[in-house]
Amino acid sequence: MKKIRFMLSVFFLLCLSVNSIAQRKTLQGTVVDKDNQAIIGASVIEKGTQNGTITDADGNCVISVSKPNAIIQISSIGFENKELTASDFSGRKRIQLIESSVSLNEVITIGYGQVRKGDATGSLNTIKPDALNKGRQLTVQDALVGKVAGVNIVPGSGAPGTGGTIRIRMGASLSATNDPLIVIDGIPVSNTSVSSINPNDIATFTVLKDASATAIYGSRASNGVIIITTKKGNENGDGKPQINYSSNFTLSDVSGKLDALSADEYRIAFAENSGAPADFELGTASTNWQNEIYRSAYGTDHNLSVTGNAKHIPYRVSVGYTNQNGIIKQNNYERFNAGLGLSPKFFEKHLSVDINLKGSIENDKSISEDIIGTAVSFDPTRPVHESYTNNVGLGYFTWMSGGAPIAIASSNPVADLYLTDKLDKTMRSIGNIALDYKVHGLEDLHLNLNVGYDILRNNNDEFSPQYAPLMYISNQKDGTGKDYSYVQDKKNYLLDLYANYSKKFGENHSLSAMGGYGWQRFWYKNNSTTNDTFGNELSSPLHEEAELYLLSFFGRLNYSYAQKYLLTASLRADASSRFSSENRWGYFPSVAAAWRIKEENFLKDVDFLSDLKLRLSYGQTGQQDIGSYYQHLSTYTASYNESRYLFGDKWTTIYRPDGYDPNIKWETTETYNFGLDYGFLNNRISGGIDIYKRYTSDLLNEIYVPAGSNFTNVIETNIGNMESKGIEFAISGIPVKTKDWEWTIGGNFTWNDSKITKLNTIDTDDNYIKTGDAGGTGKYLQVHMVGETPNTFFLLKQAYDENGKPLDGQYVKEDGTITTSEEDVNKYVTGKTSKAPYYYGLSTRLIYKDWDFGINGHGSFGNYVYNYVAASESLDDLYTANGTSGNILKSTLETGFTQQRLYTDYFLENGAFFRLDNITLGYTFKKLWNSSSSLRLSFSAQNIVTITGYSGLDPEIYSGIDKNVYQRPRVYMLGVNLNF
């Protein structure tokens, strides 16, 4: 060990740039730890200068300073920084650094409280967004990609502003949501809409994975919890505001186009394969429809924040503006953010108040994603523009037959882009006031009150003018224009009241207890109108309104002995108005123990080991997030005016009894978790391992209803069971740390697996539930099945000729014979799933003086992707019987499939990939005009390389079914970050 240390320090010394400053005053010292062991490689710097050195293998260093009152800064990883005056330094031969165990003392926000990291018993990870090493981050999910073991984030599509899919430990549900609970400053929000949060306002993410950590969130915790804390004012500042301005400019570029036939290739393919009638004529144009819809896109982002302390009230004010064009023409996303945080303290700091207000406006000028597919399949011999009588098509090419537009045809994608205006506008505000009262005379007791709201208004408008090509194949199909407007209001309120008591007894016993009550109301209302462009109603306005209440009592007990043996127990009782009064209450207990082995005497003196903690936990959590708020109630739906019945001469409103399940209740998940946290070499190498096993019972699943027994034929009910297990491994290290150099590496790796153990009322080997909708009607590519991972592909086994070429429409049956029938009987369970069993993330950062350089990447393997883009095509698409022609991919010409072969495993491909998410190079001007001003310039490139064997554009698709999605662009970004 000593030898390694020596080698390292020699290396460090070599790296050190020699300061050839004239001899002024030479100081000598030895840096040691509390046991008087030499600390090697500690950096010793004259404060405010570039002048410095590091300690050698014996902890010795020599530094020359210019003035006698110079301040010397000494720092080393794993120890707290120390500052001495030059005179103190010279006076002391031995300088003792105190072990910081900074990571252990770090305070982590958990549900209804905080915990020292060293005292945590559950599986939780805290992530501070890396200010330096990041690419473009439009939404908060982007900051988490590949960062946490056990957390799989599939970023949203390339359309700016779309959120990704977050799965913690693969998710515990089937039909109910698998999204984790997201808590922003103590307010649980719905995951689907975190895009309104400005990533620049986020201070930390805490990811809670095991039941010990999550059970305090009871009925919503089965899929894990992500706690987001936003940045706050600075309590310790000197009153002078600290201003940060950051900005970036991005150029996004198309990362690839699908290989469709060119106009000339198409003419040949058409003549050979279309079978079109002799009198059918192709066009004379040569249009590359993909080129017509794509572009290079610019974007910009500005953030300004002021942090400070006014009259002892710490504050933070921030504003942000993002404007990002999509790589598809007309697509633009714009967001305004404003945030205010105040954290005053009253009554001699007995009452802490924390006020957070956030507001945002998002304007998403989206495009219909159908355009992407149509741009591939639209006939390349047709022009973009064409004129017809009576304004039909408004100057754009439109499919016509006998002078009339064809009702079953595809619509000109360029016309759709330019003629259809879509605007999705969301205004949202989230705010809370949290009071923390340290009781006078009983200071160990804190009373907490948190009152919060999350209100939102969403306007979704779509306008297509009269005579637009799209209006002949959709809407009224006769050219009538469409003016659609949807308004949604959401108002969610929250009140939490809890008390926290912490006390140390004697030297070694410490106890804290928390108990409280929570109330939350969710309410929404939707209205939509569909009119023609002259304001005439095309159908009755639709409306919807519903509310949901959640009530909870919760408590938690922490006990630790000598900070060595830690015990946590929690219990939450939750009631949801979603369930009938008999099933309303659910109880979610958890218990966990941790043993900080490092603190034991037999390990105290083991130098290379700086931390070792064993964790064991068990807990139950629930899931209540099923679609309807009133599923347990017998209700009737009244009909809209378009669905009435005539009795005599009077149109009668129809009342329909709705399907319901009076017995519906929580899904329950039990999790066992074994964890180990470790640190070596003063925590220069640290990380953790978690192994878990999870059982979900009363799994909410959508199953068929015995015909005649209910007013629906499928119902979501508590029927299934599922078992999951996994191993998560995380490591981070700092191989090099010198005065000028710092190199950090981090990585994480996850294996997980889920098996369905019960699914249906009657489980047989042949029973399954279809899932994996490929779009269209009833086209399912996957099944849930007992003994299999959810979302296992269920397909036909392709038959091949002796040359390995797939035989068109021929499949191998289970008994080995060939069939041409595409019925389910001939399909087989492939054992391959879209769920990634293995995934990993890597990041590294290198800092040299004022330069920084970072790389992030992530990947997965063992998962499969169905290339629906290719599978949905066939030579049949060249000419359609209704008198239209269409393009195909080159690969389709090669397979030569004469009809759409949607269910063949030929199109099921290995989805393994590794993606280099971003590479960033930055330079920081440390002192601009005074010591507290700095400027960082950075350049980064995102989505540069994806290593994969997948033949489509991008294998990273959460559903595992590659339809024509909005591709993720390649992004180049120039960033500026100014602090003063």
């Binding site: 109330w519 009755s540 378009e642 019945y645 009668t652 409103t653 068929y704 015995p706 009322t761 009833g778």
Partner: protein, 564 residues
């Protein structure tokens, strides 16, 4: 310290009401004005009429929003396909000698064409789930519409003269549904109003279901309103007679009972009732103003504004006609047709060659002998195949059926350019069918004379040719020597094509699986294989949908179908 304790206690006491008031928050009721709990619905007589309307509407509409709105009744099925008459169309027409579908293969339309469906074929399950949904609505109405409940809810006074009729009509609809189940699936689950929601139904034999339909039908002959006395949209005793005639006529094939005498008796009652005489012009039965057509005994209501669906007659119009035909005549839906269903050659050949083709100068076929020959032929091949090629899914292969048109009998569009949805009411039961049933029952041994049978057939043919008492067209009458059972089957094809009865007829004449073959029957769709072949007799019944076997432990599959 003491004051502190008092403070804590008082805080606790003050916050206690907060907790208890919050507990009552959990008893939520729907907020939306369209979502109601039962007690709200049944507080008024309109509520009862609204649920009665659902029992009727569930056989033609698909959900509560109209069109393809999205709030469909049968959530596992694409809403348009979930409509009863459309779902039935695939089973009763696409599996026969009448219609071939060039689209819809993901639902199983090709298995209908080739007659090789199996328990997981989607189209097989559509009528099944829709029928049990309708039965469920009927059972719910019968549970809620009782004298004591009406009294409890204070609506008895208002409904006392009507509610017994409501109950009878709902029982009639339910009996109709079980008749369809008996016809399509044979032995199947049974559920009535005595079974609580959630009860898993057990299976009844085909004979038990048949007996139930007959006993309900016989009981209802006196409970329904007198002929002609009910309001439009609701049924009276004649509909029940019609149902009984149909069930008895098929008793031999369904349960091996000879009930032709009863079939004749009830068919004759229908014919002799003065309220539902034959329409003066065959073509008027299928038009947008057919609510004024006397012949329709049980109309299922459709309306472009008030009763929209993508099933019903909207399907008959749009699936059978495509947009470009609107250049020749008014489809009534402008150019919105889909045009994916085409007529098989066997149906075309039921008519004289001279009546088969479309004349641009006579788009209504006024100059045809048989006015029922309603085909569009321009740009189409008569063949549903292309020589030397596999089934092409080409909309131009096969003539189009243009008997359903969303225009009025004065041949005008409802609005210029046509409406989006159809206003043609679907003629569920109509009198001409009763004429042919009566004639057939006689030929099969009922007590009427051959002359009676000949008169019934010739009445129908007079109307078709618009001769005799229907006009001065060329006579279409046949002679006694022409009157055979085979003729009856052909005549039923000419008269009732696309009216959802063809499969039942072919089975009754023992020509469905073997002995008579049509385009693509028994084929694999490969090149050249368009000539029909015999198929296994198991196809006389549809299998119980595969999904039922994942949830209902009491079921046994129809013989020779293998669950997968």
């Amino acid at each position: 310290m003491k004051t502190n304790i008092i403070k804590y206690i008082s805080i606790a006491v003050l916050t206690l009401p907060l907790f208890t008031s919050c507990l009552s928050d959990l008893d939520t009721l729907p907020l939306d004005s369209n979502q109601l709990v039962g007690e709200e619905v049944y507080q008024t007589s309109d509520g009862y009429r609204g649920v009665l309307a659902k029992c009727y509407a569930s056989l033609i509409l698909t959900g509560q929003e109209g069109g393809d709105g999205g709030d469909g009744d049968v959530p596992s099925i694409d809403e348009g396909y979930s409509g009863y008459t459309r779902a039935l169309f695939y089973l009763q027409e696409a599996s026969t000698d009448e219609i071939a579908f060039h689209a819809g293969s993901s639902h199983g339309s090709l298995t209908m064409l080739y007659m090789n469906w199996n328990p997981s074929t989607k189209l097989v399950s559509y009528p099944y789930y829709r029928l049990y949904m309708a039965i469920g609505y009927c059972n719910e109405f019968l549970r809620e519409c009782t004298e004591s409940k009406l009294k409890d809810r204070g609506v008895y006074e208002k409904l006392k003269n009507e509610y017994e009729y409501y109950r009878a009509e709902v029982r009639f609809i339910r009996a109709y549904c079980y008749n369809a189940i008996c016809d399509l699936y044979g032995s199947a689950p049974f559920v009535d109003e005595t079974m609580a929601i959630g009860t898993i139904p057990s299976q009844k034999t085909r004979k038990e279901i048949y007996d139930y339909v007959v006993s309900e039908g016989e009981a209802l002959t006196t409970l329904l309103k007198e002929p002609g006395t009910n309001e439009y949209g609701r049924v009276d005793q004649v509909a029940d007679w019609f149902l009984l005639a149909r069930v008895y006529l098929n008793a031999k094939t369904w349960v091996n009972e000879d009930q032709y005498e009863k079939a004749y008796l009830y068919a004759k009652k229908v014919i002799e009732d003065e309220n539902y005489h034959l329409a003066p012009d065959y073509r008027q039965i299928f038009l947008a103003d057919n609510n004024t057509c006397s012949e329709i005994i049980w109309p299922l209501v459709q309306d472009a504004d008030n009763a929209q669906s993508s099933a019903g007659t909207n399907f008959c119009i749009k699936a059978l006609m495509n947009g470009s035909m609107n250049n020749y005549f008014f489809t009534g839906v402008g150019t919105k047709g889909w045009g994916n269903g085409r007529v098989k050659t066997q149906l075309v050949d039921l008519f004289d060659l001279s009546d088969q083709t479309f004349d641009v100068n006579d788009t209504w076929g006024d100059n045809k002998k048989d006015k029922r020959a309603q085909f569009f032929t321009i740009g189409h091949t008569k063949e549903t195949w292309v020589t030397g090629k596999a089934f092409q899914k080409d909309f131009a292969n096969g003539y189009a059926c243009i008997k359903w048109r969303n225009v009025t009998k004065d041949r005008k569009e409802l609005v210029e350019g046509g409406t989006v949805y159809s206003s043609v009411d679907f003629p569920m039961f109509r009198t001409a069918d009763a004429y042919l049933m009566a004639a057939e029952a006689i030929l099969r041994g009922a007590s009427g004379t051959r002359q009676n049978a000949l008169d019934y057939v010739n009445e129908v043919r007079d109307r078709a040719y618009m001769s005799g008492s229907y006009g001065n067209g060329i006579s279409g009458r046949i002679t006694d020597s022409q009157l055979t059972l085979d003729f009856i089957l052909a005549e039923r094809g000419r008269e009732l094509y696309t009216e959802l009865i063809r499969r039942t007829d072919l089975i009754r004449f023992d020509k469905y699986t073997k002995g008579y073959n049509w385009d693509w029957k028994g084929s694999d769709g490969a090149a050249g294989n368009y000539v029909g072949k015999d198929v296994d007799d198991k196809y006389k019944l549809f299998p119980i949908p595969q999904d039922e076997f994942t949830v209902n432990p009491y079921l046994t599959q129809n013989s020779n179908y293998v669950n997968n």
